[in-house]
């Protein structure tokens, strides 16, 4: 009798867990009522001038691309700010997301990182590519993830993954000390990195109230609250100053 009770309890727990899982998956898949959050990131003031980096210690760096410039603050003529990560910081509690099967790519070209800031999901593969005619070492320096440091000669493939959310992990090449980049890791897929036009779009957000944060490697972070309801696409603007 007792054994039967125990079995019933086990079955009940199992059913609850699987159904719960199925329900959350169904909610994640339902995009009919979801909306996008779009917007712009701007830089207020005169952006600091980029300076030329001396790469003469390794002549092979020149073969890759044009002159290497500093990328501390990259702002467009109309005040658009590049390399800002915009993401949902709050409002997705209690939901879990599977990493996408498609890997993200971080390329080393002309002895600089392309892109300067790459954003991925936790446990998503980051395909590190060396397109230069020289050897790099790829050295992410996380606070909340596993630190590794691998040498990468030309053409040798290398994959990295990070298990936990971290915004953002600085990455450098010790061999070419001017090389600096960032890897932003999220536990959900609602993030974007601004390009030349400073624009961003967070797609398919389910209705709800969210905190949207914009992060820049040198200029810090800013947050705004936004409410998303079906069919409406709120527009946001973030303005950074030096």
């Amino acid at each position: 009798m007792k054994t039967r009770c125990v079995w019933l309890a086990v079955v009940a727990i199992f059913v609850t867990l699987t159904c719960g899982r199925w329900l959350t998956d169904a909610a994640a898949a339902d995009t009919s009522s979801s909306a996008s959050v779009t917007g712009m990131v701007k830089f207020d003031g005169i952006p600091p001038k980029a300076s030329r980096i001396d790469t003469s210690s390794d002549p092979n760096c020149k073969s890759g691309a044009a002159t290497v410039m500093t990328e501390d603050v990259v702002a467009g003529a109309n005040g658009s700010l590049e390399n800002v990560v915009v993401f949902v910081a709050d409002g997705l509690e209690g939901r879990t997301f599977q990493p996408p099967a498609q890997p993200a790519v971080l390329e080393q070209k002309g002895c600089s990182y392309r892109p300067h800031v790459v954003a991925i999901q936790a446990n998503q593969k980051l395909n590190v590519v060396n397109s230069d005619a020289t050897t790099h070492n790829i050295h992410p320096m996380p606070a909340n993830n596993r630190e590794s440091n691998m040498i990468q000669p030309p053409g040798v493939p290398l994959d990295l993954t990070f298990a936990r959310e971290e915004i953002a992990i600085p990455v450098k090449c010790n061999v070419h000390p001017w090389m600096r980049g960032y890897i932003a890791v999220f536990k959900h897929p609602y993030f974007a990195v601004t390009g030349k036009d400073g624009g961003f779009e967070l797609k398919d957000l389910p209705p709800g109230t969210y905190t949207i944060t914009a992060w820049h490697g040198k200029l810090g972070t800013q947050s705004q609250k936004v409410t998303v309801s079906a069919g409406q696409s709120p527009k946001l603007e973030f303005v950074f100053k030096q």
Binding site: S57, D58, T134, T135, H136, N137, I138, H139, M141, R146, E147, S148, N149, M150, I151, Q152, P153, V156, L158, N174, V175, H176, P177
Partner: protein, 252 residues
């Protein structure tokens, strides 16, 4: 009656398993030695606390006067390991470091302590980071038997020294004076010098050829020295070891 006995047995087994799991994290295993964190704590407070600090974060009273800085055990990042880059060290790796000391740093050799004491210290050091409880132990890297050195092997090693950009930090002639040398920092941001291979001094993680093979394969975590595991084949790493040996021999 029988069922009840079975149940009691099961409960006892679970309790034992649970105790086993929790206490395992408080132990170290080096060969036949089993270290206990409880004993290790008393030893740590007597011998290690002045540099590594009561919290194990490397901020002991003497730390401001030391260069390189004492290890921060809370990060569980260790230079001298026999495991891949980013992975936790084996208990025996920590035991070896305590025994050997770290050359060209404030860390002396603790060989005068009993073997059991050193094993106890390893067990206690592991309690400073939750990683030792969270992450399963990793298999060490394989060190295949060393092919004999030869002029050809040294020549290939020399070419690898150049193509792997070793010289940008260690210098063209291995003197630790490459163009990137001055920019190097450890992960805590403190300046760190690339090793002068011609200095004739002892290497940090042991001096044997197999030790250099291991360092090249695992990398020295927390420092700019990367792992060559995915880039080179074991034969090529031996070539590099043989080349480095010629730089070191020149100094002797």
């Amino acid at each position: 009656m029988r069922r009840m006995a079975n149940k009691t047995n099961l409960t006892v087994a679970f309790i034992l398993l649970f105790c086993g799991l929790t206490s395992h994290a408080q132990q170290s295993h080096i060969g036949h030695l089993v270290g206990s964190a409880k004993h290790g704590k008393a030893l740590y407070q007597r011998y290690c606390i002045f540099c590594h600090g009561s919290q194990g974060d490397g901020n002991g009273d003497s730390a401001p006067y030391l260069d390189p800085k004492p290890r921060d055990f809370t990060k569980a990042t260790f230079k001298c390991r026999s495991t891949p880059s980013g992975d936790l060290p084996l208990d025996s790796d920590l035991y070896d470091t305590i025994t050997r000391g770290v050359h060209a740093s404030g860390m002396p050799s603790w060989r005068p302590l009993l073997r059991q004491d050193r094993a106890d210290l390893v067990a206690y050091i592991k309690t400073f980071s939750p990683r030792f409880q969270e992450e399963p132990p990793v298999a060490p890297i394989q060190i295949p038997s060393e092919p004999p050195t030869s002029p050809d092997s040294v020549k290939r090693g020399g070419q690898l020294f150049q193509s792997m950009n070793c010289g940008l930090c260690h210098g063209k002639e291995g003197r630790g004076n490459g163009p990137s040398a001055a920019s190097l920092t450890d992960t805590r941001g403190y300046p760190i010098r690339p090793f002068d291979l011609t200095s004739g001094t002892r290497l940090k993680c042991g001096d044997s050829d197999a030790g250099i093979f291991r360092d090249l394969t695992t990398g020295l975590d927390g420092t700019p020295m990367p792992s060559f595991a995915s880039a080179l084949k074991p034969d090529q790493i031996w070539d590099l070891v043989h080349y480095v040996a010629t730089l070191r021999a020149a100094a002797k």
